[in-house]
Symmetry: C2
């Protein structure tokens, strides 16, 4: 392997693929980036066996070949060579990095130990604008479970149906559903994508107005954006029938300013920390009272609302409220209740673009 | 105590004084901010007993008085009230924070346990531009000792003499000296200021072109900037006679591009991590070769220099070189050597504004 490329191109490419390397991998081989020089291109590839990211850049290839180098070390050195033209060459067990009158030399690792990545994925696909894909993920992925007790809940269910995609995340205490129109899809299908994969995909999306195509085959997913390819395993198993959880009828409906409510809950959350984040909401006569009380102090706030139906007193973990109100961009939302022990549902002022459901915390109504 | 003030003013004032609170204080009282309402002003004060910071803002005082509140909690609540007008009042053992239709309540702590701060400091002083004071500190304080074995070395010696101030820092392996002209001083004197105090002072300096006056009396220092007052203890004891350490004659003198050298050492430092940060410098025939070698890899760089005197091979801890070259703003510097085991001295291309000395690491010249 021997080639010449621009330091800045190489540095940017490393930054893309290095995201696939887990910071806590136990394997030396999975800390590496695979370099492949072929035709007029240098390809970089990194993987943690769950996600793989591959990036291709133009290079003057003097000799085709491959090499495996330590990702973090290679990144640090090349980051300091962004203004240089670089000659990369394989010299025995070392990759030589030549620039100007100087050079760096980095050990290589045995190539045959690096995982093979299957890029033959082409069965189903859907296409949408990058901006909408990012919104879809930002509005749901935070509700995925973080712990390993039910691994299937660490992913988002994505249902492609009749030209729409519905993305669902739930963790046993809350549910997030977001729906977007697709520019194109190959039919109706569904899959469960690890939330980490979805977040890494959103990081690749730098051009809001352009499209992104997600390709699915069996238990694999592939996305290509500006000559960066991300390949990920999907989660396998039965997802919950989330539609069963959502009540159809409510005794209380209210409309509230989303920003006012978010700010009130954020202030209440400061003292609620002293008491398991418990924030109490008392709804009556066109007023919503938000309060929290602990040994740290007290917060007691009032917000005007549009109320229909009966009064209700209910309590929540403040984090579940702030998480969802921070991603909603609407000025007003509708909140739906049945009682102090029944789930609360949040929907947009207009349309059915999203739905959130959160379970209350039982309190003594005094 | 009862008063009305703007949320943004109060929030900014808290951010100033909270820097005096140590994150690892063992004392609940030292986590507090003292509020004093008097005349037309609210004064906030925080201290860790070594440094105290006091900030005064305008307020409508309805009832004079004092209170002690938990700094971090008060900060978090008020940060979320920057757009509000706030009424603060003392109500038994609580401070009530009223805004709009809502309120927060925070516990107070017993006032009499808070340390008394003596502001009667006026014996000696020096005045210089804020920009030059910041340069003085940035160019020296990083060389102070970090460990407690010789506490006096955790401070900078500041010598005011004949209209100049010389700031000195050393840690047993390196020495930094920076000299600046003063706009005014009350005579010749010297003191040893904890480096943390100096860094906190630079953070208060927001107007480069304006002056700052540092007042010293016995073992105390005081600085006032835009109605923020910082008071600090000084370090007491004998400082080293640093002038004795600096050689007067050198066998090798060279001029080198500071940026080129810094970048080369930064790259060498990447592989040098594997070997106690050891970077080797080989100077001969108008060339400086910088190299590092460890199990991580090798870096080997060459820089053109202007050389006078004999060749020299010498090695350093890369950190000592990068630390000082990162604060020097000149394009070129002079480096002075005597041998591979004698200290290296770095001085400016023009003038005597700074001097750095670093000790080499002994290596086998092979």
């Amino acid at each position: 392997m021997k080639l010449i490329c621009e330091g800045l191109d190489l540095s940017n490419a490393i930054l893309k693929v290095i995201k696939a390397i887990s910071s806590k991998t136990p394997s030396e081989i999975l800390e590496c980036i695979k370099l492949t020089a072929k035709g007029d291109y240098l390809t970089l590839l990194a993987t943690d066996t769950e996600i793989a990211i591959e990036k291709t850049i133009r290079a003057e290839i003097l000799e085709e070949g491959e090499a495996l180098v330590h990702g973090k070390l290679f990144n640090e050195l090349v980051k300091k060579l962004e203004e240089e033209q670089i000659e990369l060459s394989l010299d025995g067990n070392f990759v030589k990095v030549k620039y100007g009158d100087s050079e760096g030399v980095i050990q290589t690792k045995p190539l045959d130990e690096f995982p093979q990545i299957n890029k033959n994925i082409n069965e189903n696909s859907f296409t949408m604008s990058q901006k909408e894909f990012k919104e879809l993920i930002n509005m749901t992925a935070f509700s995925c479970s973080q712990d390993d007790s039910r691994p299937i809940l660490k992913g988002c269910k994505m249902e492609v149906e009749d030209g729409n995609v519905v993305c669902v995340a739930l963790d046993g205490f809350r549910l997030a559903v977001c729906k977007k129109e697709l520019a194109h899809s190959t039919g109706n299908f569904s899959c469960i994508v690890p939330s980490r994969t979805l977040v890494e995909i959103t990081r690749l999306l730098e051009r809001d107005e352009e499209m992104v195509t997600v390709i699915i085959q069996k238990n694999m997913l592939m996305v290509e954006v500006s000559s960066t390819v991300l390949i990920s395993r999907l989660l396998e198993g039965e997802y919950l029938n989330y539609k069963q959880i959502i009540p159809n009828e409510f005794l209380t409906v209210l409309r509230v300013s989303k920003n006012q409510l978010l700010q009130s809950i954020e202030r209440a959350a400061i003292v609620a920390r002293g008491m398991k984040n418990l924030v109490k909401i008392d709804i009556k006569e066109g007023n919503m009272n938000i309060s929290a009380n602990s040994e740290l102090g007290k917060v007691d706030e009032n917000i005007m609302i549009n109320l229909e139906g009966k009064d209700v007193v209910i309590a929540f973990n403040s984090k579940y409220l702030t998480d969802l109100f921070r991603v909603i961009e609407d000025d007003f939302v509708y909140m739906y209740f049945n009682s102090s022990i029944a789930p609360c549902v949040i929907k947009p002022y207009q349309g059915d673009g999203y739905l959130y459901l959160i379970l209350p915390i039982r309190i003594n109504n005094n």
